[in-house]
Amino acid sequence: MIKITENKIVGLDQCVCPEFNDPSCGAIVTFEGRVRNHNDEKKVLKLFYDCYKPMAQKVLEEIREEAFNKYNVKEISVVHRVGEIPIGEIAVWIGVSSAHREEAFEAAKYMIDELKQRVPIWKQETYTDGNKVWVESCCHALRSN
């Protein structure tokens, strides 16, 4: 969709995180990770997320601090939903605000990339044939310390 309008544009960040309203920030980058209806060839019915909550909170705060140190951004917010999530709904929401766009894009990418590698959250896919599988990412190294 492409639209050119004279009406006010309301950003979706306003629904999740109204504190992004900061007149010194010219850029807000948001990322929504949504539940997809397929993985490779398999048709996915729904997802279930398990989470080690106190550690997930702690690791997310560490990653957020790292991003603040690496990039000149004003605010970083992360919301991760756990439990059962239907197709099409949001599993993870990330928002980053900054004075200029480059830093916000980079910090948002850093947040989701590190989240996927380090935060103790696990997804189980239920397929339309009734089978369930815990997804294990294969694209990252084992971590110790």
Binding site: Y52, K58, K116, I121, W122, Q124, E136, H140
Partner: protein, 81 residues
Amino acid sequence: MNVRVLLFAGLRDLFKQGELNLSLPEGSTIKELKEELFLRFEKGSEKLKTTQFAVNQTYADLKTKLRDGDEVAFLPMVSGG
């Protein structure tokens, strides 16, 4: 000494519980705790190979020495997001 063991995702299903308390000799490491779990449940060896560990909510390796009252989590490869 006693430690609290937490299991998540596929490991929780495999062991049919998410939490258990184990008594170990003083100074035991995560490696020794893992071996104790193998002995006790006689399963999970394949699954536990690619597992990561955390002690009191911080990533730790097999050589980490445990203390009485520690919370030790066995974490399958993560897949959040």
